[in-house]
């Protein structure tokens, strides 16, 4: 069993996101923008992906077993009235025509009107977008430095009792499904043991979410617990690999102080995967937000998506799914771009190879949220 010749999911292998490029400082060659064609290609493929995603979202929501005309008019309307409204809404046209018509409107910022309330879908979404954004911003702002310090610390103390305990804790936390974490936190912090924060996030819509921190505590804590193990372990693994490199051994032999070795030599070379890791974290947060916002009745896009599904409110559904999927694509693009710019070995070639392998493994580690 153990003798398979290919040690697949090792972060080594030559296929992936940036390996440490020695003591990397920029090589200021005359052709500094060699990666520009790569960026162009990457942008084009991103755009194509977004186009396909829009088609998937449109066709997917079209398959919902509901008739918008019926939803608008209610169950009491006559069949003739429904048929007339279908005609007026253009629902009898061929599907490709409807899709391109919809896409045209979306590109002009018109996502249609909510079937439920008649308010433009974008208006409903943008109100809640700010709340979700506040939530995610807080989580990212806390998660990134915290996991970074923790990961580096654990790598330096690798295999000590403390490292093993923390590792077991991280694995343990990851074992709880997101909603179970949320429910557990409610039990502990707002009902029985230590009731100090509200269980339900009844935000005052007149104020910014950030101005009402008591309602943010539990949602932020839950999301942090959901995403923290992934990035911590990623940073720890990257640091361990960097600390094992020969140039670190050489630096030690030359008597460079350990603190300097860690922060000046190992950390910069362990950074590249972190960018991709943050991008992955955002995707996890989008999925996690749905559960967390529903559990805490937090008025964000996740809970909006949930109620749009319940009410079969197709325009709102389309708007939110499209926004989420497009932001995943855009964030991935930004992460790739940042990785290339920050990695000397990639920055100086015309064909940065940063696809598949290592990135795929990152996705696998991030896991099913």
């Amino acid at each position: 069993m153990a003798s398979s010749p290919i040690p697949a999911p090792s972060p080594q292998a030559g296929d992936g996101v940036p390996q440490p490029a020695g003591s990397g400082r920029a090589h200021h060659s005359p052709s500094r923008l060699v990666w520009l064609p790569w960026l162009g290609k990457r942008l084009l493929s991103g755009l194509a992906t977004i186009l396909v995603i829009s088609a998937v979202v449109y066709l997917g929501t079209l398959a919902l077993p509901s008739d918008p005309a019926r939803v608008i008019l209610g169950p009491e309307a006559t069949d003739a009235a429904v048929a007339l409204l279908r005609e007026q809404l253009g629902l009898n046209r061929p599907i490709p025509v409807q899709y391109f018509d919809w896409l045209g409107h979306v590109l002009r910022g018109d996502f249609g009107k909510s079937l439920d309330s008649g308010v433009p879908a974008m208006e409903i979404v943008s109100d809640r977008l700010g709340n979700s954004f506040a939530l995610m911003f807080l989580v990212l702002a806390l998660n990134t430095p915290a996991t970074f310090l923790l990961g580096v610390f654990m790598a330096v103390r690798r295999d000590s009792r403390l490292d093993r305990t923390l590792m077991a804790l991280l694995i343990g936390v990851k074992a709880f499904p997101p909603f179970a974490i949320a429910v557990a936190l409610i039990i502990v912090f707002s009902t029985s043991v230590l009731p100090i924060v509200p269980a339900v996030s009844l935000l005052d819509p007149a104020l910014s979410a950030l101005a009402q921190p008591q309602y943010l505590v539990l949602p932020v804590a839950t999301l942090l617990l959901i995403v923290m193990p992934f990035l911590t372990r990623l940073i720890r693994a990257g640091m361990i690999e960097a600390l094992d490199a020969e140039y670190i051994a050489a630096a030690r032999l030359r008597g460079v102080p350990e603190r300097r070795i860690v922060w000046r030599h190992a950390v910069p070379n362990a950074l590249a995967p972190v960018i991709q890791g943050i991008a992955m974290t955002v995707r996890m947060l989008l999925g996690g937000a749905l559960i967390v916002e529903v559990v805490y009745s937090y008025p964000g896009i996740g809970s909006a998506l949930n109620s749009a599904i319940e009410n079969r409110d197709i325009p709102v559904l389309q708007t939110i799914t499209l926004l989420m999927a497009v932001s995943v694509v855009v964030i991935n693009l930004l992460a790739d771009f940042a990785t290339v710019l920050l990695t000397p070995r990639l920055r100086t070639t015309a064909k940065p190879q940063l696809s598949s392998g290592a990135k795929a493994r990152l996705r696998l580690k991030a896991g099913g949220v």
Binding site: D15, S192, R363
Partner: protein
């Protein structure tokens, strides 16, 4: 360094053993539970949100059904659904990934690109959307969870196969005139098996989380079935009065995923050649 490696290996093996014990215990409850339940899981035996006491030591749920009986009966669905979803994803994804890596060129590009499109949707949202469209039949949920896992398996199988295809023994097999099917099944698959099986374990934990999450949101197994995720959803409103109806299934789900996680991660870490995590 040698003794250090040995010690590390010992810790990993202990991790796997702990996982096996946990997983086995929860599995026993899930499989044997339905026949051990003292009451019919749908029988009304007490008052709504009755406190633990005589006859019902975990109390009763929001309708007055016995929590302990429902706990014993509610593990089977999540177990077979998560296992079949992971197995389907593994089988289909491994085939597609191996074909992508073996064919290379446009086939490979097309496959990779479609995984990118699928990947843009957070897993849970993908499943939730389609379940809300097509209904909550258990086999449909299983297929959708498998679909959400597919891009990951395809990428993994493709990555592994790309490494194997370049090995000399694959070249030799090709030169000896063996068919593509033979090479994939007899030369490539055996060498890709270990990482794929480790991933099966990892997917199992995701599937448990996702299925219970779906039940929790009200899109999983339909009531009045006894199901751990559904129990949490149903009894959430009475959390303050009767916490056991929520707490007991939460603990079971957590132990189940923890066990599967420990096994998969432990084996993965023992097998990883470079020191990963």
């Amino acid at each position: 360094m040698k003794s250090c490696d040995k010690k590390r290996r010992w810790h990993r093996e202990r991790q796997v053993r702990t996982g096996v014990v946990l997983f086995g215990a929860v599995l026993a409850v899930a499989l044997l539970g339905p026949s051990l339940a003292p009451h019919d899981p749908n029988a009304l035996v007490g008052v709504p949100y009755g406190m633990p006491g005589e006859g019902a030591w975990l109390g009763s749920d929001y309708l007055g059904r016995d929590v302990w009986s429902r706990l014993l009966a509610g593990g089977l669905s999540i177990f077979w659904m998560s296992l079949s979803a992971s197995l389907i994803a593994l089988a289909v994804g491994a085939v597609i990934g191996m074909i992508a890596a073996y064919r290379k060129g446009p086939t490979d590009q097309a496959i990779i690109w479609s995984t990118d499109v699928l990947f843009a949707f957070p897993d849970l949202i993908l499943v939730l959307l389609i379940v809300s469209m097509l209904g909550r039949a258990p086999w449909l949920i299983v297929l959708l969870v498998a679909l959400a896992f597919l891009p990951g398996v395809i990428r993994l199988a493709r990555g592994i196969t790309l490494g194997i295809v370049e090995q000399e023994y694959v070249d030799s097999a090709r030169m000896l005139g063996f068919s593509t099917g033979h090479i994939m099944l007899r030369e490539i698959l055996p060498n890709a098996a270990t990482p794929l099986l480790v991933h099966l374990g990892v997917m199992l934990t995701w599937a448990i989380g996702m299925l219970s999450g779906l039940s929790f949101l009200g899109y999983g197994v339909a009531p009045p079935a006894a199901d751990w995720g559904l129990m949490i959803n149903e009894n959430r409103a009475g959390l303050i009065i009767q916490p056991w109806a929520v707490l007991a299934p939460v603990v079971m789900i957590a132990l189940f995923t923890l066990g599967a996680n420990l096994i998969a991660e432990g084996i993965g870490r023992i097998n990883a050649r470079t020191e990963d995590a």
